[in-house]
Symmetry: C2
Subunit: 439 residues, 2 copies
């Protein structure tokens, strides 16, 4: 940790940076960035001059709390179920790649790649998408046929002027088919998958737009656009407002070579939810409002990794999961139903003092039988506070132990919602809990 004098020196010079930018009337983004650095430095010196922590996640990132995780799990399960239904295998790759693996694949977006510090050894960068690592994996393992899905986080140092609310760490859910096959059959399956997932997630009406990079390339050629400007123009066309231009779907990334497509939500409510939350950090999906999936054919990418340039034709789709999360979150907020963050079926409670051991004995039996159960971590909890905990956490049942129940070899089973209570023999307890909660 740096010492106090050093930090004060740094505060002084950072203060001057900020003053200079203000006097030069620099952009708000630039000034905000430098002010943030100044505040971070100042926070290191607390009121008492002791070093202090800034309690935040890095810019452009967030934590997921248990409620958000419950929603995320539900969305992932729907998507994974669809991918598996279509016979996809799954793989995983490291979160960082050799820097040179990512170089030259993304065109203008390359400036948004996070690099790791050179601490000796290889130069590394965080993955920018899952497609380039997939192509590297195929070339490295000489795989020519695979249908795989990959759900993982990717990283983009989104341009501050564009970022407002967009995440720098976000999930991608990719499904890709690699292999030399008859025309358009795998391409059609990708579209079918987008359709199934958006249907099943119940996000309202949507439209899937389809185009082909070769048509655009042809148009540009006819218009006399020089070859080396094609990709820059595609990126620009993709950012046009889609009412204005017709064959406008171009996708920003360099590697597409054939069919390209994008799914957009068309219901006003969903679109506004997606925009309000501004959750999508995906640069190429940034402008088309309500875009929730996109992809296309990239037949040249794997060959860029192969020493002999062997081609492995690929087509794939990426689900814009961050927008979907935010829509689902808003739906959950609006619904009267409470999102449960655990699946606990029963609380083991006691009606009298000094029954800790008996509670632990019973809950062990339940755990060993696969029942999801909780106990309060107190020697002598009040019955009322145990019941209140159940109401708050949405736990449907309580098993209450008392001296009399222990003598009789029974447990008082209480239904939280109705407050109905019934004595159940210890021998029947597990099947009774399963009967009541695993309907």
């Amino acid at each position: 940790m740096e010492d106090k004098a050093q930090i004060q020196e740094a505060i002084k010079s950072q203060g001057e940076v900020v003053r200079k930018l203000k006097s030069e009337k620099a952009s708000k983004e630039q000034i905000d960035e430098e002010v943030a650095k100044l505040l971070a430095l100042k926070a290191q010196l607390g009121d008492d001059g002791k070093t202090q922590f800034v309690l935040k996640t890095p810019k452009g990132t967030r934590d997921y709390n248990p409620k958000q995780m419950a929603i995320r799990e539900k969305v992932f399960n729907t998507i994974i179920r669809c991918f598996k239904r279509h016979g996809a295998e799954t793989i995983d790759t490291p979160v960082f790649e050799l820097k040179e693996t990512l170089t030259g694949k993304y065109g203008e977006d390359s400036k948004l790649i996070y690099d790791l510090k050179d601490q000796g050894g290889e130069l590394l960068s965080l993955r920018y998408d899952l497609t380039v690592p997939f192509a590297r994996y195929l070339a490295m393992n000489k795989i020519t046929n695979i249908k795989r899905y990959h759900i993982a986080k990717v990283y983009r140092r989104d341009n501050p002027a564009m970022t407002r609310g967009r995440y720098r760490e976000f999930y991608q859910c990719d499904f890709d088919i690699a292999g030399q096959y008859d025309a358009m059959i795998p391409d059609a399956e990708c579209l079918k998958i987008v359709h199934e997932i958006l249907n099943e997630l119940d996000l309202g009406d949507f439209r899937i737009k389809v185009n082909d990079r070769r048509i655009l390339d042809g148009m540009f050629a006819v218009c006399g656009v020089p070859d080396d400007k094609f990709r820059t123009i595609c990126s620009t066309v993709d950012k046009l407002d889609k009412v204005v231009f017709d064959l406008s779907l171009a996708r920003g990334l360099d590697y597409y070579t054939g069919v390209i497509y994008e799914a957009v939500l068309t219901q006003a409510s969903a679109v506004s939810a997606a925009n309000e939350a501004q959750n999508c950090a995906n640069a190429e999906e940034s402008v088309s409002v309500g875009s929730v999936a996109g992809g296309g054919r990239y037949d040249g990418l794997v060959g860029m990794f192969d020493p002999k340039g062997r081609r492995v034709p690929c087509v794939g789709v990426s689900i814009g999961i961050e927008r979907i999360f935010s829509i689902m979150e808003q739906k959950a907020e609006a619904s009267p139903e409470k999102v449960r963050t655990t699946e606990v079926q029963i609380m083991v409670a006691s009606a009298q003092k000094n029954l800790l051991e008996e509670r632990l004995q019973l809950i062990s039996e339940l755990w060993n039988a696969g029942i999801k159960a909780e106990v309060m971590y107190k020697k002598n909890p009040k019955l009322l506070s145990q019941l209140q905990y159940c109401e708050e956490a949405g736990i449907p049942l309580v098993a209450i132990l008392g001296e009399q129940e222990l003598k009789d070899g029974v447990v008082k089973l209480r239904v939280v919602a109705t407050r109905e209570e019934v004595d159940i023999s210890r021998a029947d307890l597990i099947s009774e809990i399963k009967r009541r909660t695993e309907a």
Copy 2:
């Protein structure tokens, strides 16, 4: 991308670094590291002088192929089932934190933290474990009670002198209980969880060792060890060969304050599997052979993040999942049973030409009914190659379409294992597939 002359210059000077180290008889690790850099540079210049890619994952990382993913999913499911049985919620945090969030938490191990390059903005580091981000999350959100699990990758630039085979990117599976509770009740639940998980994963005999940091601290105090040397000595004691020393379980990390424990496999086969694969990158678990879980109480960590130093007592356990993966992989290798990497129930095949549309029509019906199904991406695949694909991929059923079947409104259902074939009406097909595969 750097140009050719620059790379040749770099190769020349790197060659001299290697020669110098060799002449100085430097350690093998040091020389290997510099030779690797030299080879990486040379690989950039192909035979024809064109720049070329090195096809590898970064040092200390690996891809997971579909077979490894199938095993990983099975292990995760067992562990998550246990965490949920105990009523834990789950959270997620970003893969990187502000550098200062991690500073001063890990003692000597801090030198193994990956930093991100300063590209303007905040100074960031990759998370080193899930415990410090958890403490930051609690302090930031002023949470004083939570039982949560978190399964995610963490990053350690393991000291090259120690690394041989250890991973720099690896999973941690953490379960922690935060809150002011009666003594030892949550601590005991953590031990119960370790016991349940190791039992259910069927890894053979194991022993859970328990100690308390305060006993060690007391011993050191009695021995006259100065306060500021306690943590360094704990780290050293933890690395002793455990036959040699008795109260030796100390856990390497700085933040433990009370009970500490570690689970070790005691069956020779499992231990040798764990060692052979050397999969554990976990510095604090590196020496105790067969260690597959560990944890303890850390009552002071959250307070380090709280501006008012408010304490949130915590106790938790981390499952050493990389070792468990490698043991499960070896078991799968040794078993005659084939690991399936998909769950496909049926292949939609055709016996004659020109039935692509009919195949796609049928498979759409199956997908819409939730059946996991595949079709070959060829206009006119041979029946034999469709059947062979099923045998290789372990797909149990084939639905065969031909002119006659289409006329009769039936599908020929073939059981791959027995070659038995039976005509099923289109109306009954879905329930028949479910009956045969969802037993």
